[in-house]
C-alpha cells in the first residue's frame, strides 16, 4: 500500500514481471520513461509507465486519471499529467507537484484530441 495516494493510483503500481516485459518487447504495450518532477508524489524521474491508447469509440477518461498527452505548444513532446477537471471534452490537466508544474494553469484546457492515452501501469525506478 502506498500512503497518501488516491485509491485508484494504488492499483497502477506494479512490480516488473515477465509478461509485461514480453508485451513491451513485442510492442503490444506502449511505454514511456518519466522525465521531470511535476508529478512527484506519484511519479518520479526515471519511472517507467505503460499506457492504454485512447479508444475514440469509447472514451473512458475520468477526473483523477493520469494521462499522456501531446504538448499543446511544442511539437513531438509528450506530457504526463493528472485530469483535474473536465469541461465538455476539454481537460484541465495538472501536475501532482503543483509548485513545479507547467500545466493547464498556463497551457489552458487541453483538447481531447491531444490526449493520447491513459496510464495503466507504473513501474517505479
Amino acid at each position: 500500500m502506498i500512503a497518501g495516494l488516491p485509491q485508484a493510483d494504488k492499483n497502477l503500481f506494479h512490480k516488473p514481471d515477465l509478461f509485461t516485459l514480453f508485451a513491451l518487447i513485442i510492442g503490444y504495450r506502449q511505454h514511456l520513461r518519466v522525465v521531470g518532477t511535476s508529478m512527484e508524489g506519484t511519479l518520479k524521474e526515471g519511472d517507467l509507465i505503460t499506457y492504454k491508447k485512447l479508444n475514440p469509440e469509447n472514451i473512458d477518461l475520468e477526473i483523477g486519471d493520469i494521462v499522456v498527452a501531446s504538448h499543446p505548444k511544442t511539437k513531438n513532446k509528450l506530457i504526463i499529467k493528472r485530469i483535474h477537471r473536465i469541461y465538455q471534452n476539454k481537460f484541465d490537466l495538472r501536475g501532482d507537484n503543483s509548485l513545479s508544474s507547467t500545466d493547464s494553469r498556463e497551457l489552458g484546457l487541453i483538447e481531447l484530441d491531444k490526449i493520447i492515452g491513459k496510464v495503466d501501469k507504473i513501474f517505479s525506478k
Partner: protein, 156 residues
Amino acid sequence: MLRETLRSIFNKLPAKSVHAHCDGPCGVYDPASARVAAEAVLSMTKKLIALAPAGNDQASISAYNNTFSRFVAIKEEESQKTKKELLILWTDYFKPEHLATYPDLHDTFWKAAKLCSACKVNIDQTKAEELLGAVQKIHSMFWSSKGRNDSWVTAS
C-alpha cells in the same frame, strides 16, 4: 533474483520520454538578474545626482550633456530590465499556491514594478533604494519557496 533482474531490465529498457516538468529551461529562475539590474539603477541614479559640468565653457557643457544623456539612458534601460526580470518571476515562477505562504506576493511585485517605473521617470535615490529593497524581499520569498536560505549579496 528474478525480480531484481527484471527490475534492472525495466530500469534500462529504452523508452521515449514523457515530460512531467516545466517548459523551457525548467526551473531556471533566479532573482539575481533583477538584483543586478536594480543595483545598476541605484548606481546610475547616484552618478546622475553627483554629476556636474567641469566648467562653464562649451566643451565642458557638451561633455556634461553627453555623460548625462548616457547615464539617463542606462538608468532607463536597467529599470526596464529590472521590471522585465521581476515580471518573469511573478508570472512564470510563482504559482497561485505560493499565495498561501506569501499573502503579500502580488502586492510586493506590483509595488516593485511601480518602483521600476518611478526610477525611470525620476532621478530619485530614495526610490532606487526602495527598488533594491523590494528586490531583496522578492529574493527572500523566492529562495524560501525553494526551501533554501540563500544570502543576499550585492555586487557593489
